[in-house]
């Protein structure tokens, strides 16, 4: 809970109050909502974008949609969860299906087993570095990995949301994991 100095009210503001204020198109409440969630949503946006500028564009479009359609939030889940979905949907809006057909050469020799315990180098990685690793993934890998591993969509949902085959989603995920593992192991070598 954050303190809303700029609302000129002394008590913490609940999400419900923010929503009511946004429904009234009250700019102070909109700004309060932005400040409360912009940081977390920027992280979501950065995961789907190739660079920071693109991430800011996505976040801007997402907030416009949030304020335009706040009446569609029915309060069944958390406000944050709904806003995250809007950001993800905004990021997916302009996804090119060709992104999912690109093959990366050089991953053939990487181990398929990415489900075991992680090397110690993982523990040393900072969030900023993880974001960079994700951003360096090819578009298709990055989107599927984000949707499956972090957002928690399953392959059927990803298939439907992106208009691709489930098998494509599965293969993109496997390749994304391999590539991330490969990059992290490279970091380890450099560090050693």
């Amino acid at each position: 809970m954050i303190h809303m100095r700029y609302l000129n009210i002394s008590s913490p503001v609940e999400d419900n109050e923010l929503i009511q204020g946004c429904l009234r198109e009250d700019r102070k409440y909109q700004e309060a909502m932005f400040k409360r969630y912009a940081g977390k949503l920027m992280t979501v946006s950065l995961r789907y974008a190739r660079h920071r500028m693109e991430a800011e564009d996505i976040l801007q479009d997402a907030f416009i949609r949030i304020f335009d359609h706040i009446d569609q939030f029915q309060g069944k889940g958390s406000l944050e969860g709904w806003m995250r979905r809007v950001v993800v949907n905004t990021a997916l809006k302009n996804v090119d299906k060709k992104s999912f057909t690109n093959e990366i050469i050089g991953l053939e020799n990487t181990s398929d087993d990415v489900s075991g315990s992680l090397p110690s180098v993982f523990a040393q990685l900072q969030e900023e570095e993880l974001l960079q690793l994700i951003q360096q993934l090819p578009d298709g890998y990055r989107i599927v990995f984000n949707m499956y591993a972090i957002e928690g969509y399953n392959h059927a949902e990803i298939s439907a949301l992106l208009g691709i085959q489930e098998s494509t989603s599965r293969s993109q995920l496997v390749k994304a994991r391999k590539m991330l593992q490969s990059q992290i192991l490279e970091i380890q070598k450099v560090a050693v």
Partner: protein, 403 residues
């Protein structure tokens, strides 16, 4: 489903609550962008506008049909009055009415029942010429004699008095509605559109309600051959991830019936092609499941049927041919009402053939629910339609969440 790997867990744990502040100018940019963009007028209005349009169209359409049916009845009554003076002329064309007495003593009509007469217009039947009609004069159809022999006291002023015994024809169905509970649970929805063509096979049986009309039922069953139809359907549907879906749309069907016309010398039969056209609105609940690439499902629902056009002739209980072509003024009004319903069951099978595109086949079965006006007919008609829809299914856009 792929198991969650340790890499997935690692990234989720580290990033799910991580915050990166956006640039200072972002809030200003959002405000400016919203100020430029006018609030869309539609938003909540669009769906209400669409729903209202559909509702109004249905109401207007229903009224038109009811008014038309009423007009038909009035026209029919007036034409009977006008034709009373021409009875002799009609009888000249219909030797049965001259030579045999009718059977109405076994039929209880209300006293004030309007005398309604079918119109037998030899000029309106394209393939019946004057010569064939004269042959009819010379040899009455034997089935009529059978009917008449069963009648002890024959008081049959004219064929008009059995107008309420309208011969049963396909799709004189009643307005019918049914609530379909839909177990929607998931929030993520998908919209799909089906474009389907079908070849239908029809099993049509007519059964007399009383023994008196058994010969008539036999006549109709023997000479009418309603077997095939073709349909074209545009269907839209929404479905959940779990495969539950609701589909509706519009279907146009054209049924062809061959009516054998018995030429009196008994050496041959001539065929008259009858056409029945219907517009149907399906409302179907589906449950689908994936089996590898194949997606199979069960479809159950109702059809709202509306017969909007028919062309051709049928046999009356006296064995004469009556034209019921809807576009011709004075034709016999074959339908007591044009709206009805039927029950639909099908098995849908689909295979992906491209991005968001599937090839579809749906073998189906449909049977008509008895019309509310079923008691007005002397024959009990049962229609079973089976066939297979073949076509394409296209997913529209991506998945979406309902508000």
């Amino acid at each position: 489903m792929n198991p969650k790997s340790s890499i997935d867990e690692f990234f989720r744990r580290k990033l799910s609550n991580y915050e990166v502040p956006p640039s200072d100018s972002l809030w200003e940019n959002i405000q400016m962008a919203r100020a430029k963009k006018s609030k869309p007028l539609a938003k909540g209005w669009t769906k209400w506008l669409i729903a209202s349009t559909i509702l109004i169209t249905l109401v207007v359409l229903s009224n038109e049909i009811l008014i038309q049916n009423k007009k038909d009845e009035i026209t029919q009554t007036e034409s009977v009055k006008a034709n009373n003076n021409e009875t002799n002329e009609i009888n000249d064309l219909n030797p049965v009415l001259i030579t045999k007495k009718p059977i109405s003593n076994q039929i209880n009509f209300p006293e004030n029942h309007p005398p309604i007469s079918p119109i037998f217009n030899p000029d309106s039947l394209e393939i019946i010429n004057e010569s064939s009609l004269s042959e009819v004069k010379e040899k009455p159809i034997s089935i009529t004699e059978t009917i008449i022999e069963k009648s002890a006291e024959n008081i049959f002023p004219s064929f008009s008095t059995i107008s309420t015994l309208d011969a049963t024809l396909p799709h004189e169905l009643s307005l019918y509605s049914e609530y379909l509970p839909v177990p929607f649970k998931k929030k993520l929805w998908f919209a799909k559109i089906d474009f389907l063509l079908s070849q239908d096979f029809i099993q049509n049986t007519l059964k007399a309600k009383t023994s008196l009309f058994e010969p008539y039922a036999n006549l109709r069953n023997e000479y009418e051959d309603l077997k095939v139809a073709n349909s074209l359907m545009l269907r839209m549907g929404i479905s959940t991830l779990k495969g539950w879906g609701l589909r509706s749309g519009i279907q146009y069907s054209r049924m062809q019936q061959t009516l054998a016309f018995q030429v009196p010398d008994a050496s041959n039969k001539r065929g008259i092609k009858n056409i029945f056209e219907t517009i149907d609105i399906p409302l179907i609940l589906t449950k689908e499941q994936s089996f590898g690439k194949l997606r199979a499902g069960i479809s159950l629902g109702t059809y709202l049927n509306m017969a909007f056009n028919q062309k051709g002739s049928f046999y009356s209980p006296t064995g004469t041919l009556i034209e019921f072509t809807s576009s011709k003024p004075g034709s016999y009004p074959a339908f007591k009402n044009r709206l009805g319903a039927s029950v639909y069951a099908g098995i849908s099978l689909s295979l992906p053939i491209g991005n968001s595109l599937e090839f579809m086949a749906e073998p189906y079965f449909r049977t008509r629910i008895p019309s509310i006006s079923v008691d007005d007919y002397v024959l009990d008609q049962k229609i079973w339609v089976g066939g297979i829809f073949i076509g394409l299914r296209k997913q529209i856009g991506k998945g979406f969440y309902l508000p």
